[in-house]
């Protein structure tokens, strides 16, 4: 199993993961980019704008981790980003909770920013995870948005 990828129910602590990456990359990394995705309190995807009570994430143990490891390998084939951590939470979450962490270290910031964005874009389209949202109107499995597909696709364009 890829030690850079963690799927967990528990909350994660950004500071301790950052410290880990700092120590691992000490002297070599000139930049560490951290992205944290949070649960919003309004449903924007279904378009009804209802208040979100819970967001539940389901995964397929083993396959989910590997699907993310593949994304990291793709990122590392494009940019010099030796230090990466992805933590994705599963189970039931409530608004303002952390869902996902992407941390990327590199010698220079350009690669770290680009790789972090690439990884996030592909987590949306390729990671084996499913989100179900519960609002006052009921519960629904979320669909990926056209925008997600466009964002992932843009990395396939020449020159990107």
């Amino acid at each position: 199993m890829d030690s850079r990828v963690q799927i967990q129910v528990a909350e994660f602590d950004v500071a301790s993961i950052y410290q880990e990456v700092r120590e691992e990359s000490a002297g070599q990394a000139g930049a560490i980019v951290t992205f944290v995705g949070l649960v919003r309190d309004r449903n924007e995807i279904a378009g009804d704008g209802a208040a979100v009570d819970t967001l539940t994430l389901e995964h397929y143990p083993g396959m989910t981790e590997r699907s993310i490891a593949v994304i990291l390998e793709q990122a590392q084939s494009r940019w010099p980003v030796p230090w990466i951590r992805v933590v994705h939470r599963v189970g039931e979450l409530t608004p303002s909770e952390q869902i996902v962490l992407v941390m990327v270290g590199s010698a220079h910031r350009e690669a770290a920013f680009a790789a972090a964005e690439f990884i996030m874009d592909y987590l949306k389209t390729d990671a084996v995870l499913w989100k179900r949202e519960r609002t006052g109107l009921g519960q629904t499995w979320l669909k990926s948005t056209a925008q997600d597909a466009v964002r992932a696709e843009k990395w396939r364009q020449p020159g990107s």
Partner: protein
């Protein structure tokens, strides 16, 4: 016997996380499932947007199965 697993909305429409069936290939899995579930459920399981993994590897077509294989039906993913 092969193990069939359902995820997310497919788990909900089938009412189970998975079951064991006898099938020699992927088409055989759907033949067996059609004996257990109504047409509207089968239509969802066979939806164009449903991907199939065998032993956690995505597959296309109608691969052969051997005893102990794990067949997973995966609805469109929504991570991140």
């Amino acid at each position: 016997m092969v193990s069939v697993k359902f995820f997310a909305q497919l788990r909900e429409v089938t009412g189970t996380e998975g079951l064991q069936i006898n099938a020699a290939d992927l088409n055989g899995v759907f033949v067996e499932l059609a004996k257990q579930y109504p047409e509207d459920v089968i239509a969802q399981l066979r939806g164009d947007n449903v991907r199939v993994a065998i032993n956690q590897e995505l597959v296309n077509g109608n691969p052969a199965l051997v005893a102990g294989d794990e067949v997973a039906l995966l609805p469109p993913v929504t991570g991140g």
